[in-house]
């Protein structure tokens, strides 16, 4: 009756067992971008702290963030935030019990992939 296997159950997900699908890959990327965005948050807060500290320190950090490499990192962070944003909206929609059919879910997955790319380039051009 009672579950004797408490605390020692197999861990999920078993990525190596399943064939990658559009829906699973977009879900995995939502997780990866979410974790990676901690790095972006760290950089942004570092930049604010530098601005609060003084002109010399700001010049160092700001120089790093607006350098060629910094631009690249910021562009990647922008894509990650766009992706996680759209993917999150998709999850909020799913939470209402809608859009869970396979064909609809796959259309939304394509929407997230294409949408995040378009949004990233659009924002990068504006700001």
């Amino acid at each position: 009756m009672a579950d004797d296997n408490r605390g020692n159950r197999p861990l999920s997900p078993h990525l190596t067992i399943y064939r990658p699908q559009l829906t699973s890959v977009t879900s995995i990327f939502a997780r990866i971008t979410g974790v990676a965005l901690l790095g972006a948050a760290f950089l942004v807060v570092w930049w604010f702290l530098a601005a609060a500290t003084g002109p010399e320190y700001f010049a160092t950090v700001n120089g790093l963030m607006t350098s060629m490499f910094g631009d690249l990192v910021m562009f990647a962070a922008l894509w990650a935030v766009c992706y996680h944003f759209l993917s999150g909206l998709r999850h909020l929609y799913w939470d209402t019990g809608r859009g869970l059919e396979v064909d609809v879910a796959e259309k939304m997955a394509m929407g997230v992939i294409v949408g995040s790319g378009v949004l990233t380039i659009l924002i990068a051009l504006i700001v």
Binding site: V35, F48, A52
Partner: protein
């Protein structure tokens, strides 16, 4: 434990024992970020690349400063709960507890540092 039936143990709470509270918390911060993130990306993107004086003057204005403060706070709360699920999926036991505590500390440390910096710029 032996005196509790399986049904009694599971009722309303699911396997996580906290029911849907965690998901609901993530939903609240997700909706908040759905509003805050576009505002922050546009204001921060505009400020980045400016000179020291321009950046200070910009973040002394209430709107960009409040948007930045809210985005940092809510996103770190969202991160703390999101990373908890990731850790719970891949680790267990003492390692799981240690990593959750560590990531929670990191999230709040980043939030506190961001708020301190914004306050110092604004005041």
């Amino acid at each position: 434990m032996a005196f509790l039936t399986d049904r009694k143990r599971a009722e309303y709470r699911g396997s996580s024992r906290t029911g849907t509270e965690h998901l609901w918390g993530q939903t609240i911060s997700a909706v908040g970020l759905a509003v805050l993130i576009p505002l922050f990306v546009l204001t921060f993107g505009g400020a980045l690349g400016g000179t020291y004086e321009e950046v200070l003057a910009y973040y002394q204005r209430p709107f960009p400063a409040i948007v930045a403060a809210m985005t940092i706070t809510v996103s770190m709360i969202h991160f703390r709960h999101g990373i908890q699920v990731v850790i719970e999926d891949y680790t267990r036991g003492l390692q799981k507890k240690f990593l959750i505590i560590l990531c929670t500390c990191i999230a709040y440390a980043i939030a506190a540092t961001g708020l301190f910096a914004l306050a110092r710029i604004a005041l």
